[in-house]
């Protein structure tokens, strides 16, 4: 709540100094906060998933999905905050390389584990067999 109040005071200060409504500044601040919060949520959720899920493949699922999206969202927040075009281009380059290499590395790890014979953990709760239901 105090963060929201601080943001409101911040944008109000920007409005006073610019003597007209700074729509672009407000949009940049809101976009940065929303995108960074979503990215941090995804990154922390992926980390907790890697810690708590029972199996290698499920952990790979948690890390591979959320790291890509969280990284893109955090870099998008930084793009909203950057001032010059050079910085934006560098951050876009980082985002592009992460977008290409992160799923590729995840696929390589999963493929290597599968080819090496690592079995997925199959629990006791499965779909019931049809033949057993008849008896």
């Amino acid at each position: 709540m105090s963060l929201i109040l601080a943001a409101a005071v911040d944008t109000a200060h920007a409005v006073e100094t610019a003597s007209h409504i700074d729509v672009v500044g407000i949009l940049r601040t809101v976009g940065t906060i929303a995108s960074m919060a979503a990215g941090l949520f995804f990154v922390l959720a992926g980390t907790i998933g890697v810690l708590r899920l029972p199996d290698f493949y499920t952990r790979l699922h948690a890390a591979g999905m959320t790291d890509t999206l969280g990284a893109e969202l955090i870099l998008l927040a930084l793009i909203f905050q950057s001032d010059n075009i050079q910085m934006v281009l560098k951050l876009l380059l980082v985002a592009f390389f992460l977008f290409v290499t992160s799923p590729t590395a995840t696929h390589a790890v999963a493929h290597a584990a599968y080819r090496a014979g690592l079995k997925p953990l199959l629990g006791e709760y499965r779909a019931p067999d049809l033949e057993e239901d008849k008896t």
Partner: protein
């Protein structure tokens, strides 16, 4: 950058560091080799994010170059480690098909 945005970036960097520290738990205590490789790869991605946020905090945009370099090196290191642990050597040509000759089974030496 306004003072509020500076504090916001500082909190974000702290949360990314918390996430990296939690990933170290899986890196140290992972049961199989592939868990550790997954943790290293995810740790490297979070390092790239932290470098980008950190160079925004200290106001020097040169750090994004280092982050870009680190992203590329992280990917290459993951692929090289996978190849090494599959073939026990880096001087091997990768097969084009789906042959499994020379691969190490997980029961033998993957822990």
């Amino acid at each position: 950058m306004s003072p509020f945005m500076g504090y916001f970036m500082l909190g974000s960097a702290f949360l990314i560091i918390v996430s990296m520290a939690l990933m170290l738990v899986r890196l140290i205590g992972g049961p199989t080799l592939y868990d550790r490789l997954l943790a290293v790869n995810s740790f490297g991605t979070k390092t790239v994010l932290f470098l980008c946020v950190f160079c925004f905090i200290i106001g020097r945009p040169d750090g994004v170059d280092i982050a870009l370099l680190y992203a590329l090196m992280n990917f290459i290191a993951t692929i090289a480690a996978l190849k090494f642990f599959n073939y026990r050597a880096l001087d091997v040509e990768l097969p084009s098909g789906n042959s499994t000759a020379g691969r190490v089974k997980v029961g033998e030496d993957a822990r």
